[in-house]
């Protein structure tokens, strides 16, 4: 089932920081509609504002201009806590709380049944016996999957993933990538994933957005954004002239 209404709509979204005489624009008037159950990758050089954009969508930072609309309702009409449970956010470096994997899942949602915990673990490709392991005894890849399972525990409609594979080797990267595709296809999740490698954007499929200096320089099907950019900054990014 496809609804024409976008799940997330950004209109002239901006964030500037600093005081009157010394401001910096981190996100510059970004407008975009994200449709339900699709995968979006956000590309861009380091410091382009990729993480900052995700923070605005999760409302960890306050926009200084423009608006974010989630499922037809302005961001500020949600209580921040409700909003964030709908908009899961996986940080660039995952943090697990002290305790077991189970404790971490229960922290996100305290009334999970045993059944649900098992399902979450399975969906995130975690072995069932792992649930009782201590969180700080896990490998980086396992931590990343626990953080993903924990994010799913709040039953979000949207998942913001900030470079979920940046700390992983190629084998684990492929595992996480297929896991994310599965989540979008089977759980009906809309995924917005930051990546700094165009190859990964192509592997994920779906649409890509290219951010350069806080501006949305390019957007469209991933193949076009990566291989046939329409704008000057898009071509510079393709030639790896933007760091």
């Amino acid at each position: 089932m496809r609804t024409s209404r976008p799940v997330l709509r950004l209109r002239n979204l901006s964030r500037r920081i600093g005081h009157t005489d010394n401001t910096r624009i981190i996100i510059d008037s970004v407008s975009f509609d994200f449709e339900r159950q699709k995968i979006y990758t956000i590309l861009g050089p380091s410091g382009a504002g990729k993480s900052s954009l995700l923070r605005l969508i999760n409302r960890l930072d306050e926009p200084t201009g423009g608006e974010v609309t989630l499922e037809g309702k302005p961001q500020c009409d949600y209580s921040p806590c409700d909003l964030r449970r709908k908009v899961g956010y996986l940080f660039q470096t995952p943090h697990l709380f002290p305790g077991s994997v189970r404790d971490n899942l229960l922290y996100a949602c305290s009334d999970l049944s045993e059944e649900e915990i098992r399902t979450l673990a399975e969906q995130s490709h975690l072995k069932t016996e792992m649930v009782d392991r201590s969180a700080d005894a896990l490998s980086v890849g396992e931590k990343q999957r626990v953080a993903l399972a924990r994010l799913l525990a709040t039953k979000p409609t949207l998942a913001l993933l900030d470079e979920p594979t940046s700390a992983l080797d190629p084998a684990h990267t492929a595992g996480i990538e297929s896991l994310i595709r599965e989540l979008a296809n089977q759980r009906g999740l809309t995924v917005i994933m930051v990546t700094h490698t165009p190859e990964q954007a192509l592997r994920m499929g779906g649409e890509s957005l290219l951010l350069v200096s806080g501006r949305l320089a390019e957007h469209g099907p991933c193949d076009r954004v990566v291989n046939y950019p329409q704008t000057e900054s898009g071509r510079m990014y393709q030639r790896k002239e933007l760091r």
Binding site: N58, R59, L60, D61, E62, P80, C81, D82, R84, R85, G88, Y89, F91, T93, H95, F97, Y107, A108, R150, L151, T154
Partner: protein, 254 residues
């Protein structure tokens, strides 16, 4: 024991001289500090003695309250000088110390444990304020350092839909304990390791040991209450500085 006057003080000064000689012999570079410190202590305490004498003679409730407020503000200023990592710490320490001190003293007055006489209230307020001063500085420093050092953990909790209060709960607990710890330790060892000042003073002044002990127990409970309120208020005010009404973490001062 005779009452102690200026003659006795002058004789006791020989102990300062002895300390200076000893430290000079072992080349401990503190002679100047010792000399200055002794003079300062003498001047300050004599001044306080005269001030108290005058205030006791006035016997006015308003003067007592004024003195207490001045003591709290001076103490809060000293505490905020020890606060690092947060701006306008004075606002926090003064509010926390005022609430801790006045609520405790007020409760004791209302319950009739003490009477509103300068000779009771001012020394008690002095002890309370001294302890709240430490508690507020320790609590503020601990919680602001913990919030700064645990940004990722706190924002992870926020991103999972937790409120700022839930997200900082583990750090709040530790900071409150840090503020109260010296008081809790004091209660454990009191009478065994050391005799507390109020009691010692009363005994030296010729009171019955049992009366002195009773007073000391009351003082101990008062201090505990004052320190608890001060820590909790300081904690609450400090944590709020780090969050917006939309549960966003902002680090003041950078």
């Amino acid at each position: 024991m005779n009452s102690i006057g200026f003659t006795e003080v002058l004789i006791a000064l020989s102990l300062v001289l002895l300390s200076i000689v000893v430290s000079r012999y072992w080349k401990i570079p503190v002679q100047k500090d010792m000399a200055l410190g002794s003079v300062r202590a003498f001047v300050q305490l004599v001044a306080v003695g005269y001030a108290l004498k005058y205030i006791f003679a006035l016997d006015s409730v308003w003067v007592v309250l004024l003195v207490i407020m001045v003591m709290i503000l001076v103490g809060a200023q000293a505490a905020s000088g020890r606060v690092t990592g947060i701006r306008r710490g004075f606002v926090i320490t003064s509010v926390a110390m005022t609430m801790g001190s006045l609520l405790t003293l007020g409760a004791m007055l209302l319950l009739g444990v003490i009477t509103l006489e300068a000779r009771f209230v001012i020394p008690l307020a002095g002890m309370i304020i001294g302890n709240s001063m430490n508690a507020s500085a320790l609590t503020v420093n601990r919680i602001s350092a913990d919030i700064r050092n645990n940004r990722l953990a706190i924002e992870t909790a926020l991103a999972l839909g937790k409120s700022w209060r839930e997200a900082t709960l583990p750090y709040q607990k530790e900071a409150a304990v840090a503020g109260m710890l010296s008081m809790l330790n004091f209660m454990k060892t009191v009478g065994i390791v050391a005799l507390p000042g109020a009691m010692t003073g009363m005994i030296l002044a010729g009171a019955e040991p049992f009366d002195a002990v009773m007073l000391q127990i009351v003082v101990g409970y008062m201090l505990l209450c004052a320190v608890t309120i001060t820590s909790v208020v300081a904690l609450e005010l400090t944590v709020r500085r780090f969050f917006t009404s939309c549960h966003q973490l902002v680090l003041p001062m950078d």
